[in-house]
């Protein structure tokens, strides 16, 4: 081994790497699920920094009333790009990327079912992002119509610049990639499992990816069709969404949220999967209520398809529609609550190791519960009417997607980094990262609940000096700066650990799923020999042959 560690360090069994004879080409041309997974992670990290920078600029603009640090046009572009980036180019592709890396390993397969389709998905995502960000360099600038691009504001004559067109094209491209990913995951999980790996034994992360992937296949086509219609409107003069010419502005909202709400679960279910792996391993106990955690995931997936119009309570739909969507949205709290309680129960009687992955997983439960409870509140129509489109909503979905998905992503990064790279992340920097994240995140977003109840609308370029608004926004901005600092620590930790991190070995956390049975980083073709699977914890059964999880699974 040389002193310089490339992004995927060399292994005893050489993996195609930057240093291999084909150099960059071995990555660009790769159909290996691990290389594609790593490329997803690197690109999403870049977008995470871009989206974070956009968020910091937004917060600086809002730091005090009447600020003119940015122009309204720039501000509107920034919040549009921040939302679009974080959802479509950070959280979703990160989770897909982790899935692409881990799914075959966890089920004891050698690759995805369709390796070339896997590469196609990645490159559609890659070029979709470039198409979106290229808009910054055009004369008319980036899209400025919000991440849900409500018609008719997003269409002529109210939007004469090309931003929304780049937005729709970029998301159309990456969306097709997501459908392909979903399909690939479903087929891989259903057909590529190693003998013994029954559906009742697959790791919960795999269960959650299965449901997520089905959602991808069902709902991304809705928005893909809507993007096509929007492009027809803007480029060929159709009028699907322009009321002035007989179209409907509400139709766009139904299409968008018909995709958009299940999308929220596409962002959170794999995060639940990460948590369902981390908590048992660090508590050294099997997951509590495996069947209930898996079944509640299916329930969430089904319910999520029928709740979209709770984003539209203020539009003025009929009473029956509002009542139905209110009740259905509240019901989602039940399977979600089941999960939370099972995670807590998993810790009961355990021997908990609070390494960084477990710290993030524990904090995830608390932050996500806040986001979930405010979600129940706004499922009630009268409350939604008061707080929708206010900062309360901004707080709510940041608790769900940052406090939920991103905290889980951090837990996952600290947990699987050794597997991805062969080196451990620094625990010291990890703890700094964790505490700065917890403080910065809650300082930024908790206070926004109150700002929202007091009536501050979201997406406002600036605000007048109402009582308390200035100081509350300033607190939020300072929190965002702390959060920015935490991200610097995180990136520093990654870069430093890639070079000088402690060598990880195959299974540094004494975990029990199959990805830990192979070398770190995982070898070409993944396994020389897949361990026998006679229960939910194959490596535990190997390590403690006298007390296997399932009776009769004793290895002789």
């Amino acid at each position: 081994m040389s002193s310089r560690i490339p992004i995927v360090p060399e292994n005893t069994i050489p993996l195609p790497s930057l240093k291999a004879n084909n150099g960059l080409l071995s990555w660009v041309a790769s159909v290996d699920h691990k290389q594609i997974g790593i490329m997803y992670l690197i690109i999403t990290l870049v977008y995470f920094l871009l989206g974070g920078l956009e968020a910091l600029l937004i917060r600086v603009q809002l730091a005090h009333p009447g600020n003119d640090f940015l122009t309204p046009e720039t501000y509107n572009q920034l919040f549009t790009m921040h939302g679009t980036t974080m959802i479509f180019f950070v959280v979703m592709p990160f989770l897909i990327g982790v899935g692409v890396y881990l799914l075959p390993l966890m089920i004891g397969a050698r690759d995805m079912a369709f390796p070339r389709l896997n590469a196609l998905s990645f490159w559609l995502f890659f070029f979709g992002g470039i198409l979106l960000y290229y808009s910054f360099f055009t004369q008319s600038g980036a899209p400025d119509v919000g991440w849900f691009a409500y018609a008719p504001l997003s269409e002529k004559p109210f939007s004469l610049n090309k931003g929304p067109t780049y937005w729709a094209l970029g998301l159309l491209a990456s969306g097709i990639g997501s459908v392909a990913s979903g399909l690939n995951n479903v087929v891989t999980i259903l057909t590529m499992r190693t003998p013994g790996m029954t559906m009742r034994r697959i790791p919960l992360f795999v269960w959650m990816m299965l449901v997520t992937s089905l959602l991808l296949v069902f709902v991304i086509p809705i928005i893909t069709a809507a993007f096509a219609m929007m492009l027809l409107d803007s480029l060929l003069g159709a009028t699907f969404f322009t009321p002035a010419h007989g179209g409907s502005a509400i139709l766009w909202q139904h299409f968008f949220w018909g995709f958009g709400h299940p999308e929220v679960y596409i962002l959170i279910l794999p995060a639940f999967g990460i948590i369902s792996e981390v908590i048992p391993v660090f508590s050294r106990k099997p997951i509590y209520g495996y069947e209930f955690v898996a079944a509640s995931t299916v329930a969430i997936g089904l319910l999520s398809l029928g709740v979209w119009a709770h984003h539209m309570f203020a539009v003025g739909l009929g009473n029956v529609a509002n009542a139905y969507f209110s009740l259905a949205s509240m019901l989602i709290a039940i399977p979600t609550g089941i999960k939370v309680l099972n995670w807590v129960a998993t810790m009961w009687g355990g021997r908990i190791n609070f390494a960084t992955p477990m710290l993030f997983a524990t904090a995830f439960i608390i932050e996500f519960v806040i986001g979930g409870l405010t979600g129940v509140a706004i499922a009630s129509v009268p409350i939604d009417w008061v707080v929708t489109d206010s900062y309360f909503i901004v707080a709510h979905f940041h608790y769900a997607i940052f406090g939920g998905s991103v905290f889980a992503i951090f837990a996952g990064v600290y947990y699987w980094f050794p597997k991805f790279t062969g080196r451990m992340l620094s625990e010291t920097l990890g703890k700094w990262h964790f505490w700065l994240t917890v403080i910065g995140f809650n300082m930024t977003f908790f206070i926004q609940h109150f700002l929202g109840v007091m009536g501050m609308p979201r997406r406002t370029y600036t605000y007048y000096d109402m009582p308390y608004w200035g100081s509350m926004n300033l607190i939020s901005t300072i929190g965002a700066m702390i959060l920015g600092l935490s991200v610097i620590v995180f990136v520093w930790n990654i870069l430093a650990s890639l070079r000088h991190g402690k060598p990880a070995g195959d299974n540094p956390w004494n975990a029990w799923t199959l990805e830990w049975a192979t070398t770190s980083p995982a070898a070409v073709e993944n396994f020389e020999l897949v361990p026998p699977v006679r229960g939910r914890r194959p490596l535990w059964d190997l390590a403690y042959p006298d007390m296997p999880d399932e009776p009769g699974a004793k290895i002789v």
């Binding site: 504001l153 508590s283 106990k285 003025g316």
Partner: protein, 312 residues
């Protein structure tokens, strides 16, 4: 309590009741989960690497309990919310109707007696009001935090909203649905008058004569109109470019129009731009300004001209 805005309509206390109940229930669940979690985190912290753990995989009765109890609570919450929701959707028959138009980036209000106001909605204390709302351009949302009401305005259809103001005073109106560059400046006020004051307003001077402002000097009146009638949403007075050209230093200078011609900015040009905004559009700007014909009186236009003259 300062966290919740004042209660100024009949609907506000109903919504607050629901909000407080849900907040309390949420707090109970949050505290329960957090306390248990923190207790486990402390009690079951790993001390040595070789500690053994029990093999526990679940408990069905427990799963059923923590499924059924929250389900019952949710149904109760839903029913309570639905009752309040029905109230908020059913305006009384005798409600006074006002037509609201929200457009980029101001509010206009049309009353039954032909009065028309901009960015100021006049209503009577303790008398129900029903707003019939429309938007000629993009989506907007009419939001009065003190009344706990919000309703989108949707191009191509009418939406409605009702409330009974229960407090005399002035309350903020925000646009809550992102509607473009001037979104954050699309503000207004609801002015709740006592029955006596409302009667005077109703029968009194025509709105377009501007009640009680005749005593101000023209430039000061112009500044007041600039702020109250929504000019400031698109036109700055400090030279910064918003949706429309800034007013700073334009008077007496030539401006280049879209067709390349040059027009001298004098009293007549300003008046024409207010009454017929599309006649001469300054180069680099979109023809989006609405006409103020019939909304601003001659005196008010003159006052605006006088104000613009002072912006050197």
């Amino acid at each position: 309590m300062t966290w919740i805005p004042e209660v100024a309509s009949n609907l506000a206390s109903k919504v607050d009741g629901l909000l407080i109940l849900i907040t309390l229930l949420s707090l109970v669940f949050f505290i329960l989960i957090t306390v248990v979690l923190v207790y486990f985190a402390i009690k079951y912290r790993r001390k040595r690497e070789d500690e053994e753990t029990p093999y526990i995989t679940g408990n069905e009765p427990l799963e059923i309990i923590w499924t059924v109890i929250p389900s019952i609570l949710l149904i109760i919450l839903f029913v309570y919310g639905y009752v309040v929701f029905k109230d908020m959707r059913t305006p009384p028959e005798d409600a006074l109707e006002v037509t609201v138009e929200g457009k980029q980036w101001l509010w206009t209000f049309d009353y039954y007696n032909g009065k028309k106001t901009i960015n100021e909605l006049y209503v009577q204390h303790n008398r129900p009001v029903r707003l019939v709302m429309e938007a000629p351009d993009v989506l907007h949302s009419f939001f009065v935090p003190a009344f706990r009401v919000k309703q989108d305005l949707v191009p191509g259809r009418y939406t409605q909203l009702w409330f009974t103001p229960t407090k005399i005073g002035t309350f903020d109106i925000f646009c809550a649905e992102y509607c473009g560059t001037g979104h954050s400046a699309m503000l207004g006020k609801v002015i709740v008058l006592s029955p006596e004051a409302y009667e005077i307003w109703e029968k009194g001077v025509k709105a377009d004569e501007g009640a009680g402002v005749a005593s101000l000097p023209p430039a000061e009146l112009g500044e007041k109109i600039y702020k109250e009638k929504g000019c400031n949403a698109c036109h700055s007075v400090d030279g910064s470019v918003l949706v429309g050209p800034s007013f700073k230093g334009i008077f007496g200078h030539a401006a280049v129009m879209q067709d390349g011609s040059s027009v001298n900015v004098d009293e007549n040009y300003i008046k024409q731009s207010i009454i017929e905004p599309q006649a001469h559009v300054v180069k680099g700007f979109q023809p989006v300004m609405p006409s103020f014909k019939g909304i601003l009186s001659d005196e008010e236009v003159t006052a605006l001209v006088a104000y613009i003259k002072t912006l050197k």
